[in-house]
Subunit: 442 residues, 4 copies
């Protein structure tokens, strides 16, 4: 059991000051952080303003002047030590995530591994930045391309993965030879501060606060040829992870006429059987609270709007009795494209199903948006698989698969969702400059 | 000889309308273009506004929907045909450049080859975009990374290389499978329109107008160990190409005390012997007019400011008698860092020399700016060569070399000059999206 | 029509001497070459012995000493000129192939394009050999990796693609900066000599004779889920191209029980309808003669052996009345693994079908050989496609596809068939050495 | 102090049986191993014959069938565990090297780190094997390139680096998904067996015996512009590491006339001051015994031959009083190319100096051999540095540097020394097959 609030959390890792130039510094003001499941206060955290931000950037720049001289092997070693420490402290770090984000503890544990794996990955990538030698037409010159760190990186992270979104960026930046100023989400600063605490004896770093937003409207398409059981399993995984609060969660289900009724029926049954709403610290909970009441209101508004325009509630549909931040896992059918839930990101446990007839129609609906992070589809037709994978206007495609993130693979979107790629062999490029050296006089 | 104005230019290539969706379209308004050497009128060119821009983007998007389906081999073939046509029309295209930009005809010929070489290069790059297969920990999934074109590219180009700056961007975009909307500089639209005319029978394209600026303050450092003759040759090439109007022209000369006097003396003599001011169409001219009178005024202001603060005119220093757009090639010594010419880009035939004592001092002066496109230095000390090349905060370094551009090598800068890289194997990346496909259910 | 022998062939391209150091040289002896369809004499060709071979290597080495200094751009230009000349002479070159190999003229035309495309491809690859800069732990050293040509390459080519097998190797070698000594097959030397004639005014090269052999036993698997029409089309293309005389021709058909009878029936019908035996110069011919009578005897032996052990002739089965080098396209069913045709390469128009029950069984049969060049399979099950593609022990896999060669893709095998890869971005590596330069004292 | 023989060695790591399929197995026969410094017996080791070899290959193949299915991440983890265990046991492992090879303990410690770093490097490389997606002209096909392990690797290693030569090969093979049969040198089997012991609880492996040899004649060139002190330091490091018994040891010193006398004088003084002959376990020893008396006889023969043809002994020149396996560090001047020591690898503490006049002459002498592993040169002239680095016909070049090995960099030679590359991002390629999958029917 869990008493709520600070009980059961590691005091050593629960820091409230800002972390600048390798030291903990208080700020002029503070702001409160709460447990979204119980509403219990978790602490007052340094509320850094403009002057603290400037100091953090200054400290990061000074650190950069020496850090950039450190060899790739040494940067690699530092990141590995940090990775080892995360693994050693994994239970404490997971409990902090659940406390400040409401995420079920099992998912929080998963996030800590995923988060630590980015440090491991970039520890290895640090040593694999290669420059080029280019053979040009000029016989009296030689052309080299060096790779050098860009400088200080400003890193702003969201609340839904309070730990992994930091290591995915900071790991790459540090591997490249950059230093960073990090601003975690104000709902979930403790995971960030715990990471800094862990790093304390190994590097100079700086923590600061700001804000960011990255949207998606991921389509989940089920074609007639799909395997229904496989599609339902993928739908559950893709829609309801973190109570529907990930940027790659399916936001719109498009189901072909021939398989529609079978899929909706099986999906509703699976939701009832597998989804358990509760406090994230309780054994068996799969659906924790939403991050705050505003988030609940948005889901409610999407449901009401859809129903008022003709949608049918198959299961769920209203707030959950457990508390103000909880909502029932909800499945809607008869959804049409004029409903809010098909063109705004719900970011909660709502699965709206649109029926379609042809492949072209499904692709047109899926692409009719100016964002494009992830997309999923289920089909057993090999040629259709290639066609649809190539035509979906998104940065990541799940084919017969609902969980696609992997540190080895490039994470990112196209259209308005498109700003570089993270993780993978591409993730470090964002933090590197090319320097072309033309060596003449030969 | 050359009579000025339109005489001697190819009427077939001298287009004045805008080129949209494969057709020549007039605009509601027009604007005049002049020969900067003689002031003669060259023509009235379509002055496209908001509605023309929208139509161009729409046409480009429609073209994209089919162009992206074209195979890499076919995109390659189209670019090679365009390249062949440029080479066939090279004399006419070079004359258009000299007429509208004032550039000596020999340099204009050089630009046409440089420009065409980008089409050849990207013709070959088009077939060499490779996706990845990534081996992840999940045994029941396979991870693919596809590379796909981003869509319509908006391309804005400057007047100092009226042809090459277009092919360097458009070549890459078309190779990637994108379509483009191009806005050439208003001083030099004819070269762009001639390129479109040449392409007419081979692709759908769109020409439109906007504006852009990219600055540099390239340092040119001469260390005591340098070979003076080599350094002077590099200084001439780097400073006075296109009458000092390239973004990689040396803007500041830093010369170490031990070699200073010898270098300044030899540089002044070389300038007198090798630089010939005149109309670009005349045989033997190496220094044409500046692009317009405003450009002359800026050079004059930089010289006057420097002299008023203690600089010495070694040679040149005033407007040239040939006409209002001409200025004498000028060498200043005793220059200090408080003078305008050391922290603003002159973009004209002015070479200011700062004397320094130590390597650290030279690097500090060179890096004391928020731009960083190119930098040059001369040294015969192998260890110093690595040290300085690595520490200069620029995107391109010439070591004992004043001319560094090559289609095979990445062109671009760091700091405020830094926005991706053009040319080389990296240039096409700007126009490609990665799409990660997670193939599951295996 | 075609009169046989030399009639209709380009006298200018029909060379009989050896080509060494850029000049045509007679040899002490000669040997005769015949048209395999008519038996007509085509000419007496230089029969080079040990002393001629030594002279050729010496000339190639001398050429290498200057060729390795030539820039990548120039090597690229030479290869492109050669490519252009091949395209200009394509009809004459194709007729020479048909005359000396018996291949239908349409296939010969296809080969000339395929052959020329290697010159185009490696013309472009020549400029894309990149060295590396490696970041090591040592702060006082820099590590570079240069790429340099290996030297003189000895190239030995078979008779079944008299032109393309030469350009695939020589194109890569020349692109890398190597020079070559080529020994074409003695059945088909004229295509090689014509390539040299075409190159004559553009480079120094050397032609010499030797011998080589590369086997395959390509399985062609049809699973129950396959589309029969697609599989039959692939079977025809894969089995009967060049009258079954390519190293990637299917040698063994494995067909799953559920689809077996439908496939065999449709395959037999398609063979009767689409395969036309005749002289390669005649319009409509798809099946020319085999290369010589020994080849016919091998097919005959495989058929007789199979029938004696219980196989059923579905269609064909004996020599063709057109002449001693012709054999009927033949389909056998009830084939078992103890028959010769399942473990020796037939290299002729014989398709033996083995029936199987499970996927594991099919893979076991397919892999039960010590060669592994190509393999094909037809299936509409996405997971099966990945499984089988990964488990087949071959270097190239056709999935629902019978024709797989493409200059962009790596050609080569595993097990006893495995010796590097040709074509593609990998093909040039065989001709390059890495040179690691550790630049110290910094 | 060290008592000789087994005293002070870890009994747990001192295995004498063969290691097959994860178990220790005795062989029918055994052979003795001795300490080369004291001659003391170290043990009787399994002398595996043909039947043991066959069993080892069979066990390795069976292990391969499951190991190839293991994910890259798991292979990575295994290698890292092995690396960690080596670091934990580094003192015991180093003592075994010194005992069986005579190498000074400090060098043995260095080797253990170098050896372990290969396991770390390939642990990381295992996850970075990427396949390709190739864009071909065919619109109805997709081309993939998979990377798969080749199978069982047979690994044969020399005695001069009893540990590192194993991990450099086995690390790459295991990372690729291969299994291995290892045959260590018969002079130094204990280090190999200790590595297997350490691995015992973590993988299935096999140890077997065979033989191999890889020669070099590394030139060490000192040009007039060189820094003498730097060159002498490099000469000491390059020539006398492991008492001259590494395949990258300088074998021939070429010194330009202008710097010759100063270099020889300084080199002789540095040898006397820095080189201390002794038992490898004694503090301060830098020059241990040679591996056996045959090795001493070769050095003696080279010295006598040189002196008989006119060479001058500057220092050293005879056997050392410490024992039959010891020889004095020796410097010869007035060496000419007709002497044995300039065209046979001495593999001992002999430095012969040839005087030369021009750069061309030095390169000609350096390249006048059919082997080409490493080469070194000292120069302060930047253009000469590029020229000579490019012209030396070797696989590895030290520029102003005598120690060049690094796990990140490709190790290997050209000419007769040339068989692939080890270490670096290239090292794993030797153990991978490409499989091109043409996915059609789309």
């Amino acid at each position: 059991g869990y008493a709520g609030g600070l009980a059961g959390l590691s005091a050593a890792l629960l820091r409230t000051d800002s972390f600048v130039g390798g030291r903990w510094l208080p700020a002029a003001a503070t702001f409160p952080v709460q447990d979204p499941a119980s509403g219990a206060a978790l602490g007052m955290v340094a509320d850094c303003g403009v002057s603290e931000a400037r100091a953090a950037v200054r400290a990061a720049y000074e650190a950069f002047c020496s850090w950039k001289e450190v060899s790739a092997k040494e940067r690699s070693s530092l990141l590995r030590k940090w990775y080892n420490l995360m693994i050693q402290n994994k239970d404490d770090l997971a409990r902090i995530i659940t406390a400040e984000s409401g995420k079920p503890l099992k998912e929080a544990h998963g996030e800590i591994f995923y988060s630590a794996f980015f440090l491991e990955w970039f520890s290895e990538e640090a040593r694999r930045v290669y420059g080029d030698i280019i053979y040009t037409p000029a016989k009296d010159k030689r052309a080299l391309v060096l790779k050098q760190p860009v400088g200080v990186a400003a890193v702003i992270t969201p609340w839904n993965f309070p730990s992994a979104m930091i290591t995915r960026k900071v790991g790459a930046a540090v591997a490249a030879g950059c230093t960073v100023v990090v601003k975690p989400a104000e709902d979930t600063p403790f995971s960030a501060l715990a990471l800094a605490e862990i790093l304390l004896h190994h590097a100079a770093n700086s923590v600061k606060r700001v804000s960011m937003e990255l949207g998606g409207l991921a389509p989940f398409i089920v074609f007639d040829s799909a395997n229904v059981d496989q599609a339902v399993a993928g739908a559950l995984a893709s829609k309801f992870r973190n109570t529907g609060q990930t940027c790659v969660c399916s936001n719109r289900f498009l189901v072909q006429r021939g398989i529609h009724d079978a899929f909706v029926k099986a999906f509703a049954e699976a939701m009832k059987k597998n989804l358990h709403v509760g406090n994230g610290f309780e054994e068996g909970t799969t659906q924790g609270p939403l991050i705050n009441e505003k988030a609940v209101e948005k889901v409610e508004k999407h449901v009401n709007d859809a129903v008022s325009k003709g949608a049918t509630i198959v299961t769920g549909g209203k707030r959950h009795h457990l508390g103000k931040n909880f909502f029932e896992p909800t499945l809607l059918s008869n959804v049409t494209q004029d409903m809010l839930c098909t063109h705004e990101e719900t970011f909660g446990p709502l699965a709206p199903v649109i029926k379609f007839d042809t492949e072209e129609e499904a692709i047109a609906i899926a692409n009719a948006t100016d964002v494009g992070l992830a997309g999923y589809f289920y089909s057993q037709d090999p040629a259709q698989i290639w066609r649809v994978a190539e035509q979906l206007e998104v940065g990541m495609v799940g084919v017969n698969e609902g969980l696609i993130s992997s540190v080895e693979c490039p994470f990112g979107g196209v259209k308005q969702s498109g700003l570089g790629r993270e993780g993978s062999k591409y993730g470090i490029d964002e933090y590197l400059e090319l320097k072309y050296v033309c060596y003449g006089g030969l």
